[in-house]
């Protein structure tokens, strides 16, 4: 009925809240007692009236009743505060934990998961678990207490009557338990139908030109109507199920009352129970209707929650492929020399992306990498800060295998800038200082001048405090690239990895930035991946990557003399520049 096993990993979270939870259980218990007192008191009052003995006690009983409910109000207020509060705190910690865990996973994990899927772990799955630990748990316990207390009271009045009136209530639980999952399933289908509508709208709006060119607006509308019709029908399927379950709830609830009237009435007639007891019984029964509905609902929550728990467990079980197992304590990058020794890379079971790459890059040197899209340039760069582990071969920094540095120490001295610059929705200054929150405004400005973005920032309405991204201004591709470069430089790395970072910047600005960079730190070891040859032209060595292998290497002059792909590319680009200036 209640799958527990999937929730096992949550025990530590429960333990952290054990005091509150225990207190909550106690409160639920007290609440239930006060609650059962009400019908008991009503019954007693009627008993007085019926027998005519001590009728003067009736107002006192009425007062006692109000007193009991007041107390019950206090405890149930407290229960909610305690239990639901605890569940919110657990949810909060669980999310924090999940977030920290995901941050530590490496590139291969993220490439295997959609952002949307990961997001739903944070939203619907965490919520599914909270529903179990909060309301579901609270109602489960409450139902249990109510069944014991109210049931006990009912049993003491008449065991047979208890049996008769509990049958419809039990059926109620069964109905919820049976129809609930059906509704859930149909709702999932309805979500798919809605997604169809959404996809159609999306495709239609994104292809507005084609739709108009082919003059099929009318037909597209007709298609939307068909999809709307299908969605309507699916929703009606759900509505019918909902209608059924709603009507059944009432039916069973009232059946319980009827059976009490029939069987209980007869027992009054044969003087087996009194009217007062009958009233108390009726009160208890009314009180059990909701808990029995809740029971079915709680079971459904448990099942849905279990599925969420399993998915979360899946994420939490994922381990980063890169760890500090071989790290030697205290080892740091002091110079920044890089060696690749027959390095290969492939994703699990996939085709090899890099094959036997070797090079030697001395301190302060520059390596240029060129190659077509998909030739493995970006992957090569990502191996150096260990964003992914190489499949074979060795990568050494300062002559030591990178695995012997802790990830922390290694990345501390490596600055990497991505091809697709990603900025956070924050101010310009916050974005630049993302990796160095202590950086002063002067430092931020100094770096901005190096990457030649200072003047543009100064023209923003709020200067360095200008918000960018969502809810802020939209930056051009070139501005984003230069800001993300600044973000990296401000951490003052010894090794700089640039992945085609200035593709959206004009050639002159690029040349300026690269020159300023060399002046800024003479012993900065740099690897530059670029589509534009002017960026790698002055490199100490240039590698031409072709399908994950080195197809040519040498200095600019050597490669030009060789006359292969490099030389061809170079001529093309010169021509392009020439054309641009016409």
């Amino acid at each position: 009925m209640f799958p527990i096993a999937p929730f096992r990993f949550l025990f530590p979270y429960l333990r952290a809240e054990r005091r509150l939870l225990a207190f909550g259980v106690f409160l639920v218990f007290v609440t239930s007692i006060f609650q059962v007192l009400v019908p008991k008191l009503v019954g007693a009052a009627i008993g007085r009236l019926e027998s005519g003995i001590r009728v003067d006690l009736v107002p006192v009983l009425a007062l006692a009743m109000i007193g009991a409910v007041l107390l019950r109000g206090v405890t149930s207020f407290w229960t909610r505060q305690t239990v639901i509060g605890a569940s919110r705190r657990i949810e909060n910690r669980l999310r924090n934990h999940l977030f920290r865990h995901i941050e530590g996973l490496d590139a291969s994990y993220f490439s295997s998961m959609h952002t949307g899927d990961l997001m739903s772990r944070f939203t619907s799955d965490v919520d599914g678990i909270r529903m179990v630990l909060g309301p579901a748990l609270m109602y489960a316990i409450q139902t249990a207490f109510m069944i014991v207390l109210a049931g006990g009271l009912m049993l003491s009045i008449s065991p047979a009557l208890t049996l008769y009136s509990m049958v419809p209530l039990a059926l109620l639980t069964v109905a919820i338990r049976v129809i609930g999952p059906k509704v859930h399933r149909e709702s999932m289908t309805a979500q798919e139908r809605l997604a169809d509508i959404s996809v159609h709208a999306q495709e239609n709006f994104s292809n507005a030109r084609v739709v108009r060119a082919f003059v099929v607006e009318e037909q597209e509308s007709a298609r939307m109507e068909r999809l709307g019709e299908a969605y309507y029908e699916q929703n009606m399927r759900i509505a019918r199920l909902r209608a059924l379950s709603g009507a059944l709830l009432w039916l069973f609830g009232d059946l319980a009352l009827i059976s009490l009237m029939g069987f209980g009435g007869y027992r009054i007639l044969i003087h087996e129970i009194s009217l007062g007891e009958f009233a108390a019984f009726k009160g208890c029964q009314l009180m059990l209707v909701w808990p029995m509905i809740a029971l079915g609902w709680v079971m459904n929550l448990f099942h849905r929650g279990a599925a969420s728990a399993e998915r979360l467990q899946g994420v939490l079980d994922a381990r980063a492929a890169v760890d500090d197992r071989e790290a030697i304590a205290g080892r740091e990058i002091l110079e920044g020399r890089i060696e690749f020794d027959r390095v290969s890379f492939a994703y699990d079971g996939g085709p090899s992306i890099l094959e036997g790459i070797s090079f030697d890059l001395s301190v302060g040197g520059t390596l240029g990498i060129i190659g077509a899209t998909g030739s493995g340039k970006s992957t090569l760069l990502s191996l150096i800060p260990r964003l992914a582990p190489q499949s074979s071969g060795e990568i050494r920094v300062d002559g030591e295998r990178i695995e012997t540095y802790s990830v922390e120490r290694l990345r501390e001295q490596i600055g990497m800038v991505n091809q697709e610059p990603f900025l956070f929705s924050a101010t310009v200054a916050e974005n630049i200082a993302f990796g160095a929150p202590d950086a002063s405004r002067d430092e931020i400005e100094e770096i901005s001048k190096i990457v030649r973005v200072h003047e543009e920032i100064a023209r923003f309405p709020n200067g360095y405090d200008q918000r960018v991204g969502e809810r802020g201004i939209t930056l051009s591709g070139g501005q984003k690239q230069r800001l993300s470069l600044a973000r990296t430089l401000i951490t003052r790395p010894r090794i700089l990895l640039l992945d085609d970072v200035l593709s959206s910047v004009d050639a002159e600005t690029e040349a300026f930035i690269l020159t300023r960079l060399r002046e800024w730190t003479a012993d900065l070891t740099t690897v530059i991946v670029s589509h534009r040859l002017s960026a790698v032209r002055h490199a100490d060595e240039i590698i031409v990557l072709d399908d994950g292998r080195v197809s040519a290497r040498g200095t600019h002059d050597q490669l030009m003399t060789e006359g292969g792909r490099y030389a061809e590319l170079y001529r093309k680009q010169t021509l392009e520049d020439e054309l641009e200036s016409l």
Partner: protein, 647 residues
């Protein structure tokens, strides 16, 4: 995060508003009579359903009032024992007398009659229980029907509104779609319409049911005992007070929670997308701290809103029991004095609980209403916009092209600052294949946009056989063309549907078109052949294959004029050859305007137009332009002249 950036006075670039969907989510709108009236207009076609559901609700409410009365009659009738029983039975109320006539019809002796013993009482009890049970069965069907009819109404209204909205959007022109981000438009069609459904399903009609139920209870209570009714309903003002306060506070906190949740989700999403930046800058810990902060504020908002929920439910409960306590206290003396029966006491008890639930529910519904109003307003805003091209009063009839398409002194800019085309003049004669070449941003696609009249030129005119395009109705004008765009629109439908594109051309024509453009083999290769359903954006196909599909789409309509934006994507040699020959068949004897990237297309063109920075710089055929050694010659060398000539 600075205060200034929140300043509403600052002009934000319009294209940025689209990404601002989080804040849009939270906006609610107070109830608005005008909006409500407009919404009700959508219900008009279904007014019979509404009437039916109202009838059902009235019936159901009445029936549900009978149950407790039956219980009362049972207690005061057959179950009545002791000294007061006879007194009560002596003067039967209206319900009791109806019941008695039913009993008489069933041949049961009247209570209080001679020899009215245990057996007779039992028979009466059975009769009452039977009536109750029958009523219950009837009620079961009513309840079922009520929900189904009501949901159907809401769903139908939603379906109609969505269809109307989408149809309206189809009438908008390309510039409108450029102004409105796709994501925002999709939201209008999906979730905004969706939240209106709530309004109908659990709004209007249930509201009526709740109010009716409350009124019924009040009437019955007063009918039985005015004093007791007044006494038990004396808590109502307090109940309303509490409900109003709760509604206000719950809403306030709910909005706060949603706002913070949206913030947290945005932060999470950003951190997932930007995880490599976080890792490379070793900011994991700092980022986690910020996450904890935001997550903490969400938790606190949750905790604050729990307080109100925690206090509301017990408060209502307490009030209802206070009312019950008052009833018990007072009825005690009444019963003792013989002025009231036990049955009446039970009646009050049951009805009191019936009274409190709907009153409590009413508060929730108001919140729903406000969210729906906001959605309604957004939907209606779109419906009130209109960007359809003006149709001339007497549009020119479309006649087959005999002479030429002409651009005459055409200038155009999308926005005020950047001219895209300046003073362009050229003509495409019937049957000619014209290639347009130029670097990215030279204005090539704009020529296509003007030709199909997605936009009108700022200066100059575009003519077909001497008639300005603006003199045709846009639809009829466009049916001349077959358009193939570089960014091929493969939709998530079957291949057949992708080629047909909703024109109902018939399977044979589709097949013929597919064969003509060499897509036959590609289609045969699919597990379900022609009926293979494509993945989103056709990602299971290569770019060349997608191109073939869109060729087939254009050819299937047998257009008079072919407009084609050739893809630059690198193709394997086999597909390349397929495309070349397909292109040959497409353009054969057909007037064609091609934004060309492939050498063979350019070479075979009758005329080449070279665009550079929005100007038409060179016109001529391949040999003439090469001989000229201008821009074309350079472009040509750049793309093909480096020992890498694929053709």
């Amino acid at each position: 995060m600075t205060a200034e950036s929140e300043n509403p006075k600052r002009k934000k670039p319009t294209h940025d508003l689209g990404s601002d969907f989080h804040s849009e989510d939270v906006i609610d709108r107070p109830f608005d009579r005008g909006l409500a009236r407009r919404l009700l207009g959508y219900v008009r076609p279904y007014r019979r359903r509404v009437v039916v559901s109202l009838v059902i609700i009235v019936l159901g409410t009445l029936l549900s009032l009978i149950g407790p009365i039956l219980v009362k009659e049972a207690i005061d009738g057959p179950l009545a024992i002791g000294p007061k029983a006879e007194g009560a039975a002596a003067q039967p109320g209206r319900a009791a007398s109806i019941l008695q006539s039913i009993g008489e019809a069933a041949g049961l002796p009247l209570p209080g009659a001679e020899g009215f013993g245990l057996d007779e009482r039992t028979d009466w009890l059975i009769l009452i229980v039977t009536i109750y049970a029958l009523m219950l069965g009837f009620q079961f069907f009513l309840r079922y029907a009520e929900t189904v009819v009501m949901s159907a109404t809401g769903q139908l209204v939603m379906r109609d509104l969505r269809a109307q909205l989408f149809r309206h959007m189809q009438r908008q022109e390309v510039p409108w779609f450029h102004r409105n981000p796709v994501g925002r438009l999709v939201t209008r069609v999906t979730s905004d319409v969706e939240s209106l459904n709530e309004l109908f399903t659990s709004g209007f009609v249930t509201l009526a049911g709740d109010l009716l139920s409350i009124a019924g209870v009040v009437v019955i209570l007063f009918a039985y005992d005015v004093e007791l009714a007044l006494l038990s309903l004396s808590v109502t003002p307090a109940l309303f007070g509490i409900t109003v306060i709760f509604r206000k506070m719950a809403r306030k906190h709910y909005r706060e929670v949603r706002r913070r949740l949206a913030h947290l989700n945005a932060f999470t999403q950003e951190s997932i997308v930007g995880v490599d930046v976080i890792q490379v800058t070793r900011s994991e810990e700092r980022q986690a701290v910020r996450y904890r902060e935001i997550n903490g504020t969400l938790r606190d908002a949750h905790l604050r809103s729990i307080f109100w929920y925690a206090i509301f439910f017990p408060s209502v409960e307490i009030l209802s029991v206070v009312a019950l306590g008052l009833v018990v206290a007072r009825s005690g003396s009444q019963i003792a004095a013989g002025a009231m029966t036990f049955g009446e006491f039970f009646l009050f008890w049951t009805f009191l609980t019936r009274f409190f639930t709907p009153v409590r529910d009413l508060a929730e519904k108001y919140n729903l209403l406000q969210a729906a109003m906001a959605s309604a307003e957004r939907v209606f805003t779109v419906l009130d916009e209109n960007s359809a091209l003006p149709v001339p009063a007497t549009p020119k009839e479309k006649a087959p092209l005999t002479g030429a398409i002409r651009f005459e002194g055409v200038s155009f800019r999308y926005d005020a600052d950047t001219p895209v085309l300046s003073n362009v003049d050229f003509e495409v004669k019937k049957g000619e294949t014209v290639a347009i070449v130029g670097a990215t941003g030279a204005g090539k696609s704009t020529v296509v946009n003007l030709l199909l009249r997605f936009y009108d030129p700022d200066r100059g005119r575009v003519t077909i056989d001497g008639v300005d395009l603006r003199e045709f109705a846009p639809d009829t004008h466009r049916t001349r063309f077959g358009l193939v765009l570089q960014d091929v629109a493969v939709l998530s439908r079957s291949i057949a549907d992708n080629i047909d594109f909703d024109r109902n051309l018939g399977r044979d024509r589709l097949r013929w078109a597919a064969e003509q453009v060499n897509a036959g083999r590609l289609i045969d290769r699919q597990p379900h052949g022609f009926d293979e359903v494509m993945k989103e954006r056709g990602r299971t196909l290569s770019s060349g294959e997608r191109q073939l599909i869109s060729f087939a789409r254009a050819l299937a309509g047998e257009p008079e004029i072919l407009v084609l934006d050739e893809a630059t994507a690198s193709l394997d040699s086999e597909t390349e050859a397929l495309i070349q020959s397909a292109l040959g068949k497409l353009t054969e004897g057909r007037t064609s305007v091609i934004i060309a990237h492939r050498l063979s297309t350019i070479r075979n063109a009758d005329k080449i137009l070279v665009f550079h920075h929005g100007e038409l710089r060179e016109v001529g055929d391949h040999d003439a332009l090469i001989a000229k050694d201008g821009i074309y010659a350079r472009l040509y060398r750049l793309q093909f002249g480096l020992g890498n000539d694929r053709s």
